[in-house]
Symmetry: C2
Subunit: 103 residues, 2 copies
């Protein structure tokens, strides 16, 4: 699916890491929250509060989850899971479009 | 209103001007389309196809419409209209969040 249906979008974006990451929050009627965003080429560390699934919509990135030695490559159409209260390093080799699914 | 309700959002962003502008397209059931986005500090020229209303959600910008000499300042909560098949220059003094209403 190239779009997310039956949602609200928060008009004001979330801008992180000096603009390297820009996302918009989307809200479902049941209170579920996701974010749709981009990460410009960079190497960043994200901390999680809730568990999340990072769905890579487009682009290529390498990811190292906290406590793992290995960097794994993810491309458009692939996803990875991150535990809550954890973190991951992400190297975006080219512009990445993602959807972050929380909870 | 801080959010737009009852819409779909396209997962893949629109990235313009080497990343200075990032937007996500939102779609209504009746086919209406808007975009929610950010413009990083820069001076850019946008061309319009359809007429549009630029709603500044947050931030400050100066705008010069095609054929006008004057630059006008717009802040969060203000909007400006742009005719179709036209253009405008925009200087974002600080990060601008916007909603673009087409048609």
């Amino acid at each position: 699916m190239s779009q997310i249906d039956n949602i609200s979008v928060v008009k004001k974006a979330n801008v992180y890491f000096d603009g390297k990451c820009v996302s918009h929050t989307v809200l479902f009627a049941d209170g579920t929250r996701k974010s749709v965003g981009v990460i410009f080429p960079s190497t960043l560390t994200f901390n999680t509060d809730a568990p999340e699934i990072m769905e890579i919509v487009d682009g290529v990135c390498k990811v190292q989850l906290a406590g793992e030695n290995e960097w794994k490559t993810y491309r458009g159409g692939e996803s990875f899971q991150v535990p809550g209260k954890s973190s991951f390093h992400i190297e975006t080799v080219e512009l990445v479009n993602y959807v972050c699914h929380f909870g």
